[in-house]
């Protein structure tokens, strides 16, 4: 565990020094602009607009970081050969992999946490006083964070056995397919054979169901998020990440470096 922590803290330091968190400035500017504009043009739906816009921005910025930096976590180390000296230390490959994963999740936690505070401040500026249900914004951000953690795991898995470019394509592909996982499960296309429908349904159950992570609509309209859903998604993410990272470790543990 200690080795994982050492690698994770260094990965976080790398993200900070490579100015990954600078996106927060962009988010802050976006929220300020939105608060000013929304206050003037939307009457009675300020909360809906601000929350929808804020959560979409948090999700999108997080997605970019999770996919692009997630893919680069291992591949960059292999390309630049920074991994060589590290793997000659008493560090197992799976410890390195989990450390890199934990480091990026740590970065995303700080990033999305800061953006959540920014969103809450923007909400406060257009709607005073805030009520208890407004705190559901943080629940929505928590679910976005879980989604990002899952995407990082997928990006790492793909980067362990293919090129960075293909790993980005695969990760993006799984994400898009995962957003429509529920639709694939209920597919009833007339021009598809029963065997094809069965196969599509089978694949849809293997894909991560990203629809479960999206509660933006409910939160934007000040409706609550059931605790059972939060627990279910948390457990689902833990199990899915564990499986994906086990697969990534198995591949990476036997991979010949250049």
């Amino acid at each position: 565990m200690k080795n994982i922590w050492i690698v994770a803290t260094n990965t976080f330091r790398e993200a900070v020094r490579d100015r990954v968190l600078y996106n927060l400035v962009f988010f802050a500017l976006l929220m300020m602009a939105a608060a000013i504009v929304v206050g003037q043009i939307s009457i009675g739906i300020e909360q809906t607009v601000i929350v929808s816009l804020g959560l979409a921005a948090i999700s999108l910025i997080g997605l970019f970081i999770a996919v692009f930096i997630g893919v680069g976590l291992v591949s960059k180390e292999m390309d630049k050969r920074t991994l060589y000296a590290l793997l000659a230390k008493p560090v197992k490959r799976w410890e390195f992999l989990l450390g890199k994963y934990a480091g990026l999740v740590m970065t995303l936690t700080v990033n999305t946490g800061a953006m959540a505070v920014g969103l809450y401040a923007a909400l406060w500026s257009v709607k005073q006083p805030l009520v208890g249900s407004d705190a559901y914004v943080f629940v929505a951000v928590y679910l976005i964070l879980l989604k990002l953690a899952l995407i990082v795991a997928l990006a790492m898995l793909f980067s362990c056995f293919t090129t960075p470019f293909l790993a980005i394509l695969f990760t993006a592909g799984v994400y898009v397919a995962g957003v429509f996982a529920y639709d694939l499960r209920t597919i009833q296309a007339l021009n598809l054979s029963p065997a094809t429908v069965k196969m599509v349904r089978g694949i849809s159950y293997l894909l991560p169901n990203f629809q479960n992570f999206n509660v933006t609509g409910a939160v934007a309209h000040a409706r609550g998020v059931p605790g059972a859903l939060v627990l279910h998604v948390t457990f689902y993410t833990l199990v899915y990440c564990a499986l994906v990272l086990t697969g990534a470790s198995a591949v990476f543990s036997r991979r010949n470096l250049k």
Binding site: N3, I6, N10, R13, E14, R17, D18, K80, R81, T82, Y84, A85, L86, L87, A88, K89, P90, V91, K92, R254, N256, L257
Partner: protein, 318 residues
């Protein structure tokens, strides 16, 4: 510490390539050798001979097609052995967002050293490799030679029993090379085992208890530098000057002139006859030295024999 520090048995590495990876390129073929504890062992060979492949296999950066290896009696698959191993990769590259002090501290943490111990060792190592004044500069601003020094420092930071250095002199200026040589000799004095690969044969001759020569993925010989090149002299070399008043003489025609000086090679049996001739002609003899084959001669003979064999196989194949 008696016995072998590194034992390699029939280690082979093949890389698949071509359509559906059906072809195989043999990078290392049935390598077996031992590096005894406490010795400095030089691993010599031309580019692509299999030196780095062997070192990477020992460090588990790549995996063998067949064969085994042990370091300090434990299988190389046992990562815990790495507590006692130091490794400098070829042309090392490190996290460029860190300073040298931060990088060394980061690596030291994997060796379970206390904070005070880490701090003390990092300072000591930076001083040892001459980077004390540059310790707070990010590595992205370091030259190649400076990175090589950082690499050396991280390899010996935890006082390992076995130190494996892949081309440690590469990219260093004469001063840096001398410092690395001094570090290797200091490691030997401390009783540590050093395995290093190099192209610079004079360094191998100067530092190594034994050397191994690898060409085309096969080990061609192991022994002391003296054993490898033989002890017979190849003749004598006389260095002399000819003052203006000196007479012309036969040996002068065979000599090579460099500035005011002449250099001539004769057999051992002809030495005294040649000296008499020079003396009689009024030449001033500056030095007489034995000509011995160098490790470089041995190395070049092997490489050329290998190339000749390869081209013979190619011709017969056609």
């Amino acid at each position: 510490m008696p016995g072998a520090a590194i034992e390699i048995e029939n280690l082979s590495k093949e890389y698949p390539y071509g359509f559906l990876n059906l072809k195989k390129k043999v990078s290392l073929e049935n390598l077996s050798m031992r590096v005894e504890a406490g010795e400095v062992f030089g691993f010599l060979g031309p580019n692509g001979a299999g030196k780095s492949t062997t070192i990477k296999l020992l460090m588990r950066l790549i995996f063998p097609t067949s064969g085994t290896a042990r370091i300090l009696g434990k299988s190389i698959e046992d990562v815990s052995t790495h507590q006692s191993i130091g490794y400098l990769p070829e042309q090392p590259y490190f996290y460029d967002y860190l300073t040298a002090a931060e990088l060394l501290d980061y690596f030291a943490r994997f060796h379970r050293l206390t904070t005070d111990d880490r701090r003390e060792r990092v300072q000591r190592m930076l001083k040892k490799v001459g980077l004390e004044t540059a310790k707070s500069i990010q590595l992205r601003k370091y030259s190649k030679g400076m990175l090589q020094r950082v690499g050396m420092a991280q390899a010996i930071l935890h006082e390992p029993e076995v130190v494996v250095l892949d081309e440690p002199m590469s990219g260093l200026d004469p001063l840096g090379r001398r410092e690395v040589r001094d570090i290797i000799l200091a490691l030997k004095r401390e009783g540590r085992t050093v395995l290093f690969s190099t192209h610079i044969l004079s360094d191998a001759e100067m530092l190594c208890d034994r050397v191994g020569v690898i060409v085309g993925g096969k080990l061609r010989g192991v022994g002391t530098p003296g054993e490898m090149v033989g002890i017979q002299t190849q003749g004598m070399e006389i260095l002399f000057e000819v003052p203006g008043a000196a007479k012309k003489f036969a040996l002068m025609d065979r000599a090579t002139r460099t500035g005011e000086r002449y250099r001539v090679q004769v057999s051992e049996g002809q030495l005294y006859e040649a000296l008499d001739e020079l003396k009689g002609a009024g030449a001033r003899i500056l030095s007489v030295a034995q000509i011995k084959p160098t490790l470089e001669d041995f190395f070049m003979d092997l490489v050329e024999a290998d190339r000749a064999q390869a081209s013979a196989v190619e011709v017969s194949g056609k």
